[in-house]
Amino acid sequence: MEAWAIRSRWVVLCLLAMGGPASAGPDSDMAARRQAMVDEIAGEVRMTSQYLGRDRLDSRVLEAMGQVPRHELVPERQRRYAYENRPLPIGHGQTISQPYIVAIMTDLIEPEPTHVVLEVGTGSGYQAAVLGRLVDRVCTIEIIPPLADRARADLARLGYGNIRTRTGDGYYGWPECGPFDGIVVTAGASQVPPPLIEQLKPGGKLVIPVGSRFLTQQLLLVEKGEDGELRTRQILPVRFVPLTGGH
């Protein structure tokens, strides 16, 4: 009997390890974990300053990251991981980005309270929620209907009144909502859709992650000058220098 009891305990432990359901804990606990996550992001940004061109993020961005309840925007079974600095599966073959990457992408478009921002790829709604705390209006488009429906409901439940959602093809942007001071394309793309460039205001910034769903390899920042001229900058979001030389 004893042997069987030990074995059944192992089975339970293994099931838990394989991703069984778990409770998320009280709100105060969540707030503390959220703050720890923000502190971790700030530390990593300092380490990647050479590539990012800055050694700290806008304090408003970090503040927003510290306010958005990420655990409310991930599937129930992922809640206990919500404030770990890593991407999480949200179903339908999609992920919610690593908070560190979300913070950098948000910072790169230099959001201001008067800005209007377009997001292509709503996903869980987390990026939109962070932007929603920083700018006047966020318009977000999701291509997968069930994800769009869920994000719309979650964002409404959490009281984000300045976020407009739409289900559909992000290629053509959202002209009625623009022009935009910033555009965040959260889904990797084989090209930068020309209509998005067109809907970007002079002086606006567009950012796209490149890579797979769990691994962001680089960020592409497209800057539209006041004269309408375009420039791109490829950013490696990691401290990995120098590439050559005596090391």
């Binding site: 991703g19 590539y51 073959g93 769990f214 691994l215 680089q218 420039r231 791109t232 490829q234």
Partner: protein, 819 residues
């Protein structure tokens, strides 16, 4: 304990062995579809340790197994057949996400469960083979021959099934063959005939009546996530040994594949059909309605750069896929376009099924499609071309994250580039593309390879013949059979400015010009080409990734790992550095470590149970020799096989054909060698036979290395059948000699130390499985020819480690330390 029935169950054994090999190959196919082929390789490699586990089990439970040997033999084959399909279905239901493994280490438990579940069928079929060796060990040469011949037939069967059935049905076919093997086993042993007949009937009925199981691909695969988008529909699915090709359309959210398109391009591609290979995005078929305005975007892609400086009449497109570059050539006025594509399903789909959609692209002039491996086409076709287009290798994501590291790429080696340069007409242009990862890797290696090829061809000023452009995601390097003049550079500069590209290098270009519209922290491509042209190797030596040119002996274009970079990458793994990890190589090493650890446990486990060791063997001398001997031949056999497959891939033109021909030849002739060894051992003694065989293998192996290149140069112009025959002629003596090692020693062990027979089976099984992984590691590190030399050195070990030290000249003379 030898069996009272003097005739070993050879037919059922061969059938079971064939079913197991077919099952193994089908599993690799299936896991390539539902996961990624690198993980398929790892998962199946580990599951094959079921072979080693069977020997361990038989060692530990030798006595009851001997008592019930006939029944156990039949039951094991039946269990393999029964579990074959359910094991796969259970394994695929364990939601395992490889990339998540890097973030979430507990995912390892699911991986372990998959190993366990998939290892079970292999365990049972290997138990059956091990039991045959235990029961009829004195006829081990006949059993060995049946085992290998059956496996050879199984490999042919697997390819046949892959051509005719979908992958799940093909897997069921392996199970059915296993059931039939169980029935034949019952007939051969005279036990349980009624039971087996009933079971087989029930199995066949169940297979027919039950609904066909569905594949559950990872939701993170390109195909699965594409089908999540509103409006996506599957238009066609084709399956063959080349993989599964799926065609998807989406009228609501169209595909807009325009590889590397510049930021200033405003034209939108017309409707496209997406082609997925084993669930990964491969290419698109672009609609050609005859309205040229729809195809304007083709003139602005980076691949259109050569058309800015020339009007090529004859264009060769390698790795043509769905035909984008062929369509571009047609649109831009080429008079003769040859598109080379190796996957017959892709060719058929574009040419036949979607001829109307593609404007009959592959079925009408000026495009002529050729179904061939591009490298073999370059060897066999002697025409000259004004433009040769080579598209980028792998996907944007996978290429940069190291997932293609293990893939042999014979189209981007120095020799391959030389053969392309050889096919250029005067002033002709070779245009090669590479995805721009960050930090750049593929584009730099490609540049290094191009410069190396030019230098090897004696071009004195290679810089005059090279120009590079880049967009934010793609680099294009043009190499001319001649020189680029000032007018050419001016045209290219205008092309780049118009569409949003930067000139990245030309002879005499100022460094700061490389950082125009698309900026990176440093102009790496400029710096790299400058260094390559000047033959300065400081840049290459100092770079954090391996960007040296590849060659045909180590054709791993996408393996960029530098060991000295690994510690730094590991340190920054969770702060954005995960994408820098060269995942393919790391996974391979992880597989090797896991296999080695598990194999060690499986081999040592029986030794801790001293009662499994008969009196007289406690000294350990024989066990040490047994382990060394059976381990060495297990490792060596796989190393030789892998090296031989590689050497014949270019000669036979196709990796698939090379694998089928080489594996079958090795199995059949090794089996024949095993049979012959029985007679030789009876006449000259087992030990003498094995030693002579070892010397023969080393001599034949060295001769093989020396002769094979010349033989294939001479046979390059032969037809397919003649080339296959030549491969068989060249390979069979070596395979024949290699075949004597296992049965000769096992027969001797069976005579003098039968308790060690199952343990020897375990050692050999573990070594063979680990050896297959080790072969890939060695090929990456040393090249295939040195892989062969390592194998020959291992065969020399057998000279000093024959497990039975015999007195006298007879093959089964008593061992010196036997009581």
């Amino acid at each position: 304990m030898p069996q009272s029935n003097p005739r070993p169950p050879l037919v059922s054994l061969a059938m079971a062995s064939g079913a197991a090999l077919a099952y193994q190959l089908q599993l690799v196919r299936l896991f390539s579809i539902i996961q990624w082929h690198h993980f398929a390789y790892m998962i199946i490699s580990l599951a094959l340790l079921g072979y080693g586990a069977s020997g361990t089990f038989l060692s530990l439970f030798r006595r009851p197994m001997e008592t019930w040997l006939g029944q156990a033999y039949i039951a094991c084959i039946a269990m393999f057949a029964i579990l074959a399909l359910p094991a796969f279905l259970l394994a695929q239901s364990l939601a395992f996400s490889p990339e998540e493994l890097l973030w979430r280490p507990t995912m390892i438990w699911r991986l372990a469960c998959i190993y366990l579940v998939l290892g079970t069928p292999f365990f049972f079929v290997a138990c059956a083979i091990g039991l045959a060796f235990m029961g009829w060990g004195r006829q081990s040469n006949r059993i060995y021959a049946a085992d290998l011949t059956g496996a050879a037939a199984g490999s042919v069967l697997a390819i046949g099934l892959a051509w005719t059935l979908n992958p799940v049905a093909a897997l069921s076919g392996s199970g059915i063959l296993g059931v039939l093997a169980a029935v034949v086993a019952a007939l051969e042993t005279g036990r349980g005939r009624s039971w087996m007949t009933v079971m087989a009937a029930a199995y066949l009925v169940a297979t027919t009546v039950l609904p066909a199981p569905q594949l559950q691909p990872s939701p993170y695969k390109d195909l699965a996530s594409t089908l999540q988008v509103a409006g996506a529909q599957t238009r066609a699915v084709r399956s063959s040994p080349y993989g599964q090709v799926t065609v998807v359309t989406n009228p609501r959210v169209p595909f807009r594949d325009a590889p590397g398109m510049g930021l200033k391009v405003t034209a939108e591609p017309p409707a496209q059909l997406a082609l997925f290979h084993d669930g990964d995005f491969a290419s698109t078929i672009t609609r050609d309605s005859g309205d040229g305005a729809d195809l304007r975007f083709l003139a602005s892609l980076p691949s259109a750069a050569p058309y800015a400086v020339a009007s090529p009449g004859r264009v060769l497109v390698l790795e043509a896929g769905g035909g984008l570059l062929a369509l571009q050539a047609k649109y831009l006025g080429a008079k003769q376009v040859t598109a080379v594509e190796r996957n017959p399903d892709v060719v058929d789909l574009v040419r036949d099924d979607f001829a109307g959609f593609s404007g009959d692209l592959y079925g009408s002039p000026p495009v002529n499609v050729v179904r061939a491996h591009p490298r073999s086409f370059l060897t066999s076709d002697r025409r000259d071309w004004d433009l040769i287009q080579l598209p980028p290798s792998g996907g944007l994501g996978g290429g940069a994250s190291g997932l293609f590291a293990l893939t042999e790429d014979y189209l981007r080696t120095t020799e391959a580039i030389e053969s392309m340069l050889d096919r250029l007409a005067p002033d002709g242009i070779l245009a090669v593309q590479a995805w721009e990862s960050l930090p750049p890797r593929g584009s730099l290696r490609l540049a290094a390879t191009l410069v190396n090829a030019l230098q090897r061809r004696g071009v004195e000023t290679p810089g005059d013949s090279i120009v590079a452009l880049r967009s934010w995601q793609m680099a294009v390097i043009l190499v001319r059979n001649g020189r680029f003049g000032l007018a050419d550079l001016s045209e290219l500069g205008e092309f780049a400015t118009t569409w949003g590209y930067d000139l990245a290098w030309y002879q005499g270009m100022p460094r700061e010009q490389a950082q125009g519209l698309n900026r990176t922290q440093e102009p790496w491509l400029y710096d790299a080409i400058t260094a390559f042209i000047a033959s300065e190797d400081n840049f290459t030596r100092g770079y954090k990734f391996d960007i040296r040119p590849t060659d045909d002996d180590q054709p791993f274009f996408n393996n960029f790992l530098r060991w000295r970079t690994l510690p730094e990458t590991v340190r920054i793994l969770h702060s954005g550095g995960m994408a820098l990890l060269e995942a393919g190589y790391i996974l391979l090493l992880a597989t090797l470590v896991q296999a080695a650890l598990l194999a060690t446990i499986l081999i040592l486990l029986p030794l801790v149970r001293s009662r499994s060791c008969p009196p007289g063997l406690a000294g350990g001398v024989k066990r040490g020799r047994t382990a060394a001997y059976f381990g060495a031949i297990g490792f060596a056999f796989m190393l030789v096989e892998v090296a031989a497959i590689h050497r014949f891939t270019l000669f036979l033109g196709e990796p698939l054909m090379a694998s089928a021909v080489v594996v079958s030849t090795f199995l059949v002739f090794a089996g024949a060698g095993g049979l012959a060894a029985g007679a030789l051992a009876a006449r000259f003694g087992a030990r003498a036979t094995a030693r002579t065989g070892a010397v023969a293998v080393v001599a034949l192996g060295l001769a093989w290395l020396l002769v094979v290149g010349s033989a294939f140069d001479a046979g390059a112009g032969l037809g397919t059948a003649a080339r296959v025959a030549l491969v068989v002629v060249v390979t069979s003596p070596l395979a024949f000699a290699m075949g004597q090692f296992f049965p000769t020693a096992l027969g001797a062990l069976s005579e003098h130390a039968p308790a060690l027979v199952p343990w020897a089976w375990a050692v050999n099984g573990c070594a063979s499985v680990t050896g297959a992984v080790l072969a890939t590691v060695l090929a990456l590190a040393l090249g295939f020819d040195r892989c062969m030399l390592v194998a020959l050195a291992l065969y020399l070990v057998t000279l000093f480690s024959f497990p039975v030290v015999a007195r006298g000249s007879g093959p089964f003379a008593p061992a010196i330390d036997d009581t």
